[in-house]
């Protein structure tokens, strides 16, 4: 079978699975899977850039995704005027002060030497931290005191939500630059552990800094790029068109909004995929793969391995940030409590490995397929389990326990899928050429 035919069949297969969901369950759930599949595909594309192109092992995807989510709040929510009046500027001053401290410490570290350096740097950090806290704490308290049940944060810029997508990419890129500067150039495990750390810290900040994005109180009702279902249902023109298609207006409006998201996401995915393919086939892409396959040889050819790694690490993380911003837009809310490493970091890894690391199309396919399985394993597991426990008595404790635990089947399944693919088809469904 030729390669294009094989790939087309694979994508058609996943498409058929989603269509099947539409026919057997409901079109709403099929579109939900499609939309999250598109987002997952984008994240997988970002990780594939890092792992497939350059062999960088990033286990902090969750953090970059969450930063993208933060960007939607910061860009799209309307500013809370009272909070700004209460302490917005003081808060910003404190943050600038904190950044200035770190910059000063870095500069001092570069200029001085010996023991003086140690003392000066530590002194700058200590004094800077104390001033930072003295400025920050009261400002934070007064901002968070502004109507805490509804706002209690600074709000955003009130710009259209679509702008948040590239901004999410920029935020993630900034974080990636910082972490890459530290950990790249050391052994690969260190990058993994450093990224694991930064992602936990991003989540901790999101959960606890209420002035930023309300913490665990969540920001709900994010502005949308598409009309609301209620407005559609009250629009006579829309209702007419829906009835002429034989749909009731409520279903038609939900489908319309979801399809709208699908189109928006598909556009982003296609643009990113096109860029990634161009990058792959360019001299830059070949250089990256050369570095991945033999760092020493590439270095001998005069390539700056660490700088190239930093470049691609930042790019890949930015794509994850864009995906994260899109996901939060789709959800319409930022809920820091729901960010779990198993779901947002390791699941994306399963997508990349199963799809085919090093191949952009493979990553996209893996994104769709694994997301479909992630959603559907639970009902399938429940069905299988009800069949398994059928011989047990109605009230047997084992039966009840097994039925209760069905929800945890998906982790087990993902682990098994990952191990099986790694063992028997380590190059994935669509291998790198």
């Amino acid at each position: 079978m030729s390669e294009p035919l094989r790939n087309t069949l694979l994508f058609a297969g996943v498409g058929a699975l989603i269509l099947l969901t539409g026919f057997m369950q409901s079109w709403n759930s099929a579109l939900l899977i499609l939309n999250m599949g598109l987002v997952s595909a984008i994240m997988a594309l970002g990780v594939n850039l890092q792992w497939g192109f350059a062999g960088l092992f990033n286990v902090g995807i969750m953090g970059f995704v969450a930063l993208g989510g933060l960007a939607t709040v910061l860009v799209a929510m309307p500013p809370v005027e009272e909070a700004w009046a209460a302490g917005g500027l003081r808060l910003l001053t404190a943050l600038v002060m904190g950044a200035a401290t770190i910059t000063a410490a870095v500069l001092a570290y570069g200029r001085l030497t010996g023991r003086t350096r140690t003392f000066v740097v530590l002194g700058i950090l200590l004094v800077g931290f104390v001033i930072y806290r003295i400025l920050l704490d009261p400002a934070k308290a007064s901002v968070e005191a502004v109507n805490p049940a509804l706002t209690g944060y600074l709000g955003g810029l009130g710009l259209p939500v679509l702008i948040a997508w590239p901004v999410g990419g920029l935020l993630a890129a900034g974080a990636a630059w910082l972490i890459g500067k530290t950990a790249l150039g050391l052994r690969s495990d260190y990058l993994a552990i450093a990224t694991l750390g930064i992602s936990e810290i991003v989540i901790a900040v999101l959960k606890n800094e209420d002035w930023l994005a309300r913490g665990v109180k969540n920001v709900v009702g994010l502005p949308r790029p598409l009309p609301y279902e209620i407005d559609l249902q009250q629009d006579p023109g829309f209702v007419d068109r829906a009835t002429s298609l034989g749909l009731d207006p409520v279903t038609a409006s939900t489908l319309y909004v979801k399809l709208g998201y699908s189109v928006l996401f598909a556009v982003v995915l296609i643009v990113l995929l096109w860029l990634a393919q161009r990058a792959r086939n360019s001299p830059w892409g070949r250089m990256m793969r050369a570095i991945r396959d033999n760092e020493v040889a590439a270095e001998a050819m005069g390539k700056d391995v660490t700088a190239r790694h930093l470049q691609i690490f930042v790019l890949g993380s930015a794509i994850c940030g864009i995906g994260g911003a899109m996901m939060t837009t789709l959800d319409g809310q930022l809920t820091p409590g729901t960010y779990q490493p198993l779901r947002f970091t390791f699941l994306i890894w399963v997508m990349v490995i199963v799809g085919g690391s090093g191949n952009n199309l493979g990553a996209v396919l893996g994104g769709f397929l694994i997301w479909f399985l992630w959603v559907q394993v639970e009902p399938m597991g429940a069905w299988a389990m009800s069949w398994i426990v059928a011989p047990l008595a109605e009230d047997s404790a084992l039966r009840l326990h097994l039925l209760d635990s069905v929800a945890h089947m998906r982790l087990l399944t993902m682990g098994v899928i990952l191990l099986v693919v790694l063992r028997f088809s380590p190059r994935g469904l669509i291998p790198e050429r």
Partner: protein, 336 residues
Amino acid sequence: MDFLNAIVALANFVIVPATAYGAQLALGALGVTLIYGILRFSNFAHGDTMAFGAMFAILFTWWFQSMGISAGPLPTALLALPFAIVITGAFLLATDRVVYRFYRQQKAKPVIFVIVSLGVMFIMNGLVRFIIGPNDQRFADGERFIISARDFKAMTGLREGLAIKTTQGITVITAVIVVAILFWFLNRTRTGKSMRAYSDNEDLALLSGINPERVVMVTWLIVAALATVAGTLYGLDKTFKPFVFLQLLLPIFAAAIVGGLGNPVGAIAGGFVVAFSEVTITYAWKKVANYVLPDALAPDGLAQLLTTDYKFAVSFAILVVVLLFRPTGLFAGKSV
């Protein structure tokens, strides 16, 4: 008197909890560092191995409790430990046989092992949630305190109390025993010496007739014991919740790297460095400061550097500092 009160408050809120936590981290980091030294990869499944072992300790504890077996003033979980270790060891050997051995024979790159360990992590995490569920489990029984705050106050007449929980005492004592046995094993026995030889130089070790599969098997068994003990002690001292162990990965790795990956002494030192920094930085120093400083200088706020929600940031900061300035760790680890 004030000075004594300050010391007691410090001991009660910082030194005792940090020592117990440090012992737990040290045991966890020892497991990570052993796998790194012998099998040469960072095992991301280690946190879930701890959860897995602790889960069996809990299940055996419940079983013993239902049969009326108890260890008197000590927690029943101590009796359950050996059984849990056997099951965890069997499970780890099975994973090695089914999963890791294949890649060892292929001489796969370390990063492939790491990804494989992610798969194992998923499976173990799923199993733990499947068997015991995602909720909090309490299984500590026996005497609650070695010395309670009230007794201490009555004994000494100080205003501050010093409470030492039984679990904290047991944590430290068990950790000392386990570490002593481990070092005796590594330094004195033939198998232990062959493990160190294999870790130092694989080729030379193979030349001198050391059986690599045997070394690997013994390593997994030791790691199972360490992880089960660490997980159970953590669960006794704090609480058992499956996802907590995933979050423990970061401080454990930080401890292993700070000490130097592959270096057992380093792992222990690293565990205590991380634990003490975490606790001192997230502790509210107001009470101690009030005793020590004159009234005019006493702080208004809590005098807390970071809230406890940011304790991961502390392990992370230590990790970054070590990576930047001394990538091989405090005690020379294997490689950069």
